[in-house]
Symmetry: C2
Subunit: 188 residues, 2 copies
DNA sequence: CTAGTTATGGAACGATCATTCAATAAGGAA
DNA sequence: TTCCTTATTGAATGATCGTTCCATAACTAG
């Protein structure tokens, strides 16, 4: 009953994610977004409200994809520790590209309620998966039993942020690999 | 032979640092800076060139102060490991305030040559101190001897970044303390 | 074919951006 | 005092910011 959209919201959102990852929220202009997304300015505002809404949508989509990738990696191998290693390896391997989650925290802190909610949901999902996997690895004797799985989950998330910051600061792949190894070593 | 300045560059710079820490480079306007620094617009440009120059000067001053504080903490106690613990504790204790170093890396990556130089100098200074301290702690049997001190130095820096990102994301002091403990545990 | 509805593209909005100009003020050297 | 130099102040610069208005295009239900 009306003119159909000429683009897919998620495809456009992925393009926006690419820009926000590299330039941050304040460093990205509406012009940069319409250029990267390949849509008109008005279409951007029709679909996402405003720049803040688009950013929130981008962070949400990114957080969901990132959480999913982490959980997928955790399912690797037979022993629980193998999945944990796979998760760490993936972070090390992909640390070369800026992380929208880390960058949004660094840039905006907890000042956006909408972002806080998105992060809380992603954190819960990821942490739940890590806690279960860690408990399993502890039962299998691959992680020290005296450590609280919940603390370890926080530990992993922080280590990932540290690795990503190191990479964004120019650390070599060898250094990043070392970081991944030490992250796992802390738990033995 | 001419009118003297009515303000001290370093005092003004500290005020600028406070604004940049919280709002980042792109999120800070010249108006916010003159308000916080308590000087006129023209004085800002006379003393620091432009906004980018002021930011570089702020990051430089911050990096020097932060590196100095780290090195001071390292000198604590009798055994080398005590100084290392003090350094970690300080980061945990002060993680509540945003880190200009971490935030500048997250926001700008390695795209500013001037910042890269500042970081390289600070990194070298800090890493040198940590390496020496770690080697001493290894000789005293408090850190595993099979680990490369240089890798450990990278590890500390990354852990600090992770802790600070966690704090900026809203982590509780208890969680931050746990992160500090696990940072040290990785080395035993 | 027509009427109704939404998407699109381009020009335009006021506001704010970083930066500078021009005029005045303040001190040291003579 | 007088001159010279620099600091300060406030207004003004053009550019770009995020956002919206408006006319047109595209599609569907009737």
């Amino acid at each position: 009953m009306a003119r159909p959209k000429s683009f897919d919201d998620d495809v456009a959102l992925d393009a926006a994610i690419g820009v926000f990852r590299e330039h941050g929220y304040e460093g990205t202009s509406a012009q940069m977004l319409v250029d990267a997304m390949g849509i008109g300015r008005q279409s951007l505002y029709n679909s996402f409200g405003d720049k803040a809404g688009l950013y929130s949508a981008a962070v949400r989509r990114y957080a969901i994809a990132e959480t999913h990738a982490h959980r997928e990696a955790l399912r690797t191998g037979n022993r629980a520790i193998e999945g944990i290693c796979a998760m760490v390896d993936r972070v090390v391997r992909e640390a070369g590209r800026p992380c929208l989650g880390v960058n949004s925290i660094a840039e905006l802190g907890t000042s956006w309620p909408a972002l806080n909610e998105i992060r809380a949901a992603a954190d819960l999902s990821l942490r739940t998966a890590i806690v279960a996997q860690v408990a399993a690895a502890q039962a299998e004797g691959d992680i020290a039993a005296d450590l609280d799985p919940d603390v370890i989950a926080t530990w992993f998330v922080a280590s990932f942020a540290g690795t990503r910051i190191a990479a964004r600061g120019g650390a070599s792949p060898e250094h990043l690999t070392s970081l991944g190894e030490l992250t796992l070593r802390a738990l033995r």
